[in-house]
Amino acid sequence: MKKEIQNKLTYLLFVYGLVCEGQERYCMTESLMSGFRALDLTDEKGLICGKILAALGVDTIKIEPPGGEPSRYIPPFINDKVDPEKSLYWLAANTDKRSITLNLETRAGVDLFRKLVRSADFVLESFPVDHMANLGLSYQELSQINPRIILTSITPFGQVGPYSNYKGCELIASAMGGVLENTGDPDRPPVKEALDSCYFHANVAAALGTLTAHYYREMSGVGQQVDISVQEVAASRRTIGLIGWEFDKLLLKRSGPLNQFGRQSFRWIWACKDGYVYWQLFGGLHGASANEALSRWLDEDGIENPLREIKNWREFDMSTMTRDRSEAWEKAISRFFLHHTKKEIAEEGLRRGIHSCVANNSSDLERLPQLKARDYWTSLPHGESSLNLLYPRYFFLSNVTENFIKRLAPFIGKDNNVIYGTELGLSDAEMTALKELNVI
């Protein structure tokens, strides 16, 4: 308990900028990007970009077709009940956004959108290529309304190129990006990574590209379009494979729980008593202390220990590993991990400095002391219901600005009155008429 309090105190001191003596205390009421606005037209391919911008303080308005954005129907749902207000997928991806409904398939809807573009800084979209142009909302048209606008487009294959009109989803982008081929057991088909991994990474790339364009816009007054291909973002991760092909014509393939670094390969995922553990063997100075600590622990466990043959771990060179040595070491280390539980490896491994990591699941995450100590979770009530769920509270911490996730993802059209009434000045009668015409 004492340690928990100590951890919490360190965290609070850090967050409130009191870590070093004499440092002034900032009043953290602002976020990094407060005062800017994004119009978010994306579906599941691009929701996270807006979520990141919203966490940075950008007023991110999710623009949904009347009835709600189709990705509100992606499972899982609260109580497994299909309901557009209860998709946990959607709730995770839209925190801190506001929501208005707007039918862009109508002339009046497009006109309203153009009005919103006047005061917006960013437009985010993930439609099939040319869809925005067919609506009269291409970058060129948007920039005539607002030359400072930044249009960020997130699509499976990007805005140009022979596959730009190909249909895709996370699995397809992962396949075409070369990541899928590199994941899985050799005796089975390639296997995808967790959930929407490639979308998430592509959306981080989109946020980075959007802010890069923003920086330039603020210096020059000129907006532009940012073009994100989910395939290309995935392919950018395959640099080790690419150099293997370029230099040695090697196809470094998927190898299950082993890594595959050409001349430097070894197992890195190990079964333990009640789950799995990650432990990577490194050579030289980098791996010396961890290798030594693990070898010592093997000895203390009374496990036959071939690692003992290394006298100076600082001089241990991975490229000198023979197949026989690898097999003997893997056998011994496998036996060792199978002796221990996740808890033992997490706690005792940390104390000994073996630099292993246990494979957490959602239940483990909920209890992880590291996250508790950092006030990582925030509880957001689901509307009027008594359901309170924990969400990650931030992407990073700052000692000056507050970039916290504070609001539940919006209900469908929750902010129609504020945006259309107060901001665009539509009367109640006009809004009613637009509703009847299925525009909002």
Binding site: C169, I172, A175, L195, Q224, I240, E246, H355, D364, F396
Partner: protein
């Protein structure tokens, strides 16, 4: 002008580089550190990488390909890929002489990047407290495995640590097998390597408006959990503990990877809507099994996937992966070849047209391909320069950038290694 003829742009410099004028002092190392500064450099920031020949970057020591040797720090193409568009300064921070160089560099910089295990940069003498005293409005970003506080803060981590600790690993693989990680493909490193520069740019913009710098604490665990939040919410709301599901997802079927003609060739196919299912059936010639009630709706296909998937494979195995993709795409069904690195490198016309790879000349490795940043700005394109050899720009940085006299530079030479 630099030796290679490139001009260093000023604060209000060339309009064609988005981040022209931004000055970055980069203590980054390994993959996250490499990428974080690289993206800023590729888009025009001036990035000075602080290196040491006696304690070189981990990636400068990798020997993944035959051209890489044990006795040359400049023959590592992986380092090239993830450290493009930087300048390299070698300096021995343990030498007391080095402080005058570092202090001048801190005054020069708008941004300091580092990603050592928490506590290391302070022990080296360049923690935020020190840097801030010299440059009060500095923006400093630390990007580690577990962030700067908490019981795991001082544990050391790599890409796989991020996947494992965040829950991503437990969700990747087959239900009856060990979880798996991509065998040589980064994820957490790549994601945090983009979060860091993104925050830098947001903080630069904040400083433009307020005059304030700040310190940012980012980490792979904290960022990666966002990716698996739907599973975490499912656990809390429904007590469903999601685990590995192969290639299956709840809202599409078939949704998988199917064998094609050739050795280890596969095509991924994903059918979400009823319309797509009907198109899919047409492409495979409407065999009678597709008319069975057990495959009629998404719900029924989901219940019979063990039976459905081999039937799809029966058809795909008679075609090349490229044919399957092309036939499916023409019919409006999501499909894609499971491309290998040769496909990415040589064949894929889409990546080629988008200039995914550019050829750059490196003094040791010759002309080699580099990935360009995978986010394209249409008016201010990235300009990727080859990565520096170790210490390549030490003299330029000291004499031209920091304005040292030749005598000063010579006096400092013992620490510039």
């Amino acid at each position: 002008m630099l030796s290679n003829g490139e001009k260093i742009v000023g604060k209000k410099g060339s309009a064609s580089q988005a981040l022209a004028g931004v000055k970055v002092l980069d203590f980054g190392w390994a993959v996250v550190g490499g990428l974080s500064g690289k993206y800023l450099g590729d888009y025009g920031a001036q990035v000075i990488r602080v290196e040491s020949a006696t304690r070189p970057d981990l990636v400068r020591a990798t020997q993944y390909v035959s051209i890489s040797s044990t006795n040359n720090l400049d023959d590592k193409p992986w380092f090239n890929h993830i450290n493009s568009s930087k300048y390299s300064l070698t300096v021995n921070l343990k030498d007391s002489l080095s402080q005058s160089v570092m202090d001048r560099l801190i005054r020069w910089a708008d941004v300091v990047l580092e990603n050592y295990t928490p506590g290391t940069i302070s022990r080296m003498g360049y923690g935020y407290e020190y840097i801030r005293k010299i440059k009060p409005d500095i923006i400093m970003v630390s990007g580690s495995a577990y962030c700067q506080t908490g019981p795991l803060a001082h544990d050391w981590g790599v890409d796989g640590t991020g996947a494992t600790s965040s829950g991503r690993l437990d969700l990747t693989g087959w239900p009856d097998r060990s979880p798996v990680n991509p065998s040589n493909t980064t994820y957490g490193d790549s994601v945090l390597g983009m979060i860091n520069p993104m925050v830098v740019i947001a903080a630069l913009d904040y400083k433009r408006r307020t005059g304030k710098g700040q310190y940012i604490d980012a980490g792979m665990l904290d960022v990666s959990i966002h990716q698996v939040t739907p599973a975490f919410l499912d656990w809390q709301a429904n007590r469903h503990l999601q685990t590995r599901a192969g290639n299956r997802v709840p809202n599409a079927s078939p949704h998988g990877v199917f064998p094609c003609k050739g050795e280890d060739r596969w095509c991924a196919i994903a059918v979400f809507t009823q319309e797509e299912w009907e198109s899919f059936c047409r492409v495979i010639g409407n065999p009678t099994w597709t008319k069975q009630a057990k495959f009629a709706s998404l719900k029924s296909r989901k219940s019979n996937e063990d039976e459905l998937e081999p039937k799809v494979s029966e058809w795909t195995k008679n075609h090349s992966a490229e044919e399957v993709m092309s036939l499916m795409q023409d019919a409006g069904v999501s499909a894609g070849v499971v491309q290998n690195v040769q496909d990415l490198f040589e064949r894929d016309p889409q990546l080629k047209e988008r200039k995914f790879l550019v050829s750059l000349k490196h003094p040791v490795l010759g002309v080699i391909k580099h990935p360009t940043p995978p986010y394209k700005l249409t008016k201010t394109e990235a300009r990727v320069r080859t990565s520096p050899c170790i210490g390549e720009h030490t003299e330029y940085i000291c004499t031209k950038l920091l304005g040292m006299t030749d005598q000063e530079f010579i006096a400092l030479l013992p620490c510039l290694v």
